[in-house]
Amino acid sequence: MSERAPVPQQSEPAEMRLDLPAAVKEAAIAALVAFGLFVLMIGIRTDQGPTGALVLTTRFGVLAAIVAAVFVAALLRATLWREAAVLIRHFVPATVKTATSGASGYAAVAFLIFALIVPVIFYSNRYLLDLGILILTYTMLGFGLNIVVGLAGLLDLGYVAFYAVGAYSYALIAQTFGLSFWICLPLAGILAAFAGILLGFPVLRLRGDYLAIVTLGFGEIIRLILLNWQSLTGGPNGISAVPRPSFFGLPFNSSDGGFAATFGLHYSPTHRVVFLYYLILALALLTNWVTLRLRRLPIGRAWEALREDEIACRALGINTTMTKLTAFAMGAMFGGFAGAFFATRQGFISPESFTFGESALVLAIVVLGGMGSQLGVAVAATVMLGGFELFREFDQYRMLVFGAAMVAIVIYRPRGLVSTRSPSVSLRAHKDISAAIVSEARTETPA
């Protein structure tokens, strides 16, 4: 028998020690990476000279400044930041943490109250009202996609297809048959749900990446159909003069039978905007209510179980095909509602409004918000679209800011803004579950 190796001494927690050489090394590597990234982007620049030929100018001073800044930032991060994190963990008592985790309920109520009074506060600010409508539209789309991606764990990159089906269904039905918004809205939702089932049947045997690619393709197919089926959709010209919504039969115009005259108000185009705002708010809240309700029903639990482990679901007698189809149909239906709203708000729709970028944006909202969290989706939609507007003056650098924000989220909150899962039922105490345990789709053969 050989000598037993000495048992290693219990080392001090690494975070308590300040390792300066390692920090400098880390910072040097960061600076080197920054140099490699920026040497061609910032260090060298080509301009058009007076004779029309390209002139090479160098900006090594700026380059050096940036590399130095990265070095200092990385050094600070490696030294002070870690110390600060330890201190924070030490001095913030556990009660504060539990209080902040319980605050999400109050945050949701505050958010809702704010959403309700926005038209009152900003009545005269048309721009903000339009932004509010836009944010609520994407919140609703996020809620819808959240059913498919967040709850059922099916990665759908073509969600915009259902949005498009809803919008075109509304526009075509309302124009051709002259039906009112309130009749066309459910029809548009049903048609979108039907499209969801139609897509679902062939592709739901796929999972994960494969499903994502096929849904991506489906989104493009729908857009191309809209673009090329000239006789029905008007092709690239789209459909104009989509009927505008009326207040239960009272049109928003200056005529005698209009909304303003009936209620004895002075006619103002803002009436319609406020009405649209409350309309999309009601639709988003309906989506939210239905989703929260479904989560507590067997179908919602089956969706979440499906996300956790599909094989186990099948072994428990759950028809996974039907379960996935209902998730797809339900998500598509809400996408269709949002599409119908979009059509009636814009008054004009064309295939250009339904590109892959829209799907990506809605998916980003769901992922950023925290998969499966309703409040997270609402916050993420506000942050993303509000941020887009806020940084509008940065022009082309807007995407840079946006990208940096995304990288920060990935590093610091990889599970999204709201990263706990609230159980759908509890016996005694209601405890949230850390997202570290909650899994996304798994695929293997049973063993």
Binding site: L297, L316, V425, I437
Partner: protein
């Protein structure tokens, strides 16, 4: 003395390309008995389980399940979810498959999905909170609580399943399978990773399932302590072929089983090697 069979496996063959995982296997598992399937690694035990529970479709053979009330099912013709839903065959997995991010209670409610779906009027009635559905859900929670108490996890009902220690996860998986009201319970290595005390508790629990609840159990197990102590009947597989079938005592003394499964004594190996060198 001998009970009628609940599961009859006839000439079952399962191939994966050129590999024959299970070859012309026939045996019967009887009602209210614990039937153990043993054999070395790769003998085809889990493949057989996957055939019985519908995850694999066998190339040849018949799997006949007879319910106590007389209903009969040909399992090889049913998709896996209908085997669990209609034929009431429940299973656990070799590497535990719980819904890790859901609470223990939620895990057990998912197992009662089909009953609850009907009670919720396929979601329509449930959406509007009908009284019938709320009663059904309360019943489902009661049943879940009962099984949690049976496996000693009632005080952790609101914790995430993934946060449980390994032994408790195995017990929860059995409780979840029981919530589907099975007539045949297929357990894939339930004692793997358990310590002596835990596996003794598991033995007692499986015996009460058989005696009090009238469940027939099909068991894959490597732990001979468990197998010999609680099985009524043992089937031994080796390379997909049945090499022994009988009561624990007969199997224990079967020379083929000793050679294939429990190993050959060192002297015999040396002797055989010496003979082959000559």
């Amino acid at each position: 003395m001998t009970a009628p069979p609940i599961l009859t496996v006839e000439h079952l063959t399962m191939r994966f390309g050129g590999l024959v995982a299970v070859s012309d296997l026939s045996f019967a598992a009887r009602k209210r008995e614990i039937t153990a399937l043993i054999g070395p690694n790769g003998a085809g035990k889990t493949t057989l389980f996957n055939c019985i529970t519908g995850f694999y479709k066998p190339a040849i053979g018949r799997l006949l399940l007879a319910h106590p009330d007389g209903a009969a099912f040909l399992l090889e013709r049913l998709p896996e979810f209908r085997i669990a839903k209609e034929a009431h065959v429940a299973r656990t997995f070799q590497n535990v498959r719980l819904f890790a991010g859901m609470t223990l209670l939620e895990n057990l409610l998912v197992a009662q999905h089909n009953t609850l779906m009907v009670a919720s009027g396929f979601t329509v009635l449930g959406l509007f909170g009908s009284r019938g559905y709320r009663r059904a859900e309360a019943d489902a929670v009661d049943k879940a609580r009962y099984w949690l108490e049976r496996v000693g996890l009632a005080d952790r009902a609101d914790d995430a399943a993934g946060a449980l220690p390994y032994g408790a996860q195995r017990r929860l998986e059995i409780a979840r399978a029981m919530c589907t009201d099975p007539v045949l319970l297929c357990l894939d290595e339930p004692a793997a990773g358990l310590n002596n005390r835990e596996s003794a508790e598991l033995n007692a629990f499986l015996l009460t399932l058989r005696d009090e609840h009238g469940i027939s159990i099909l068991l894959i197990e490597h732990d001979m302590g468990v197998v010999m102590e609680i099985s009524d009947h043992i089937v031994v597989l080796d390379y997909g072929v049945k090499i022994a079938d009988g009561a624990p005592n007969d199997v224990r003394n079967d020379s083929k089983v000793i050679a294939a499964y429990l190993g050959v004594p060192d002297e015999e190996v040396e002797q055989a090697e010496a003979e082959s060198r000559q």
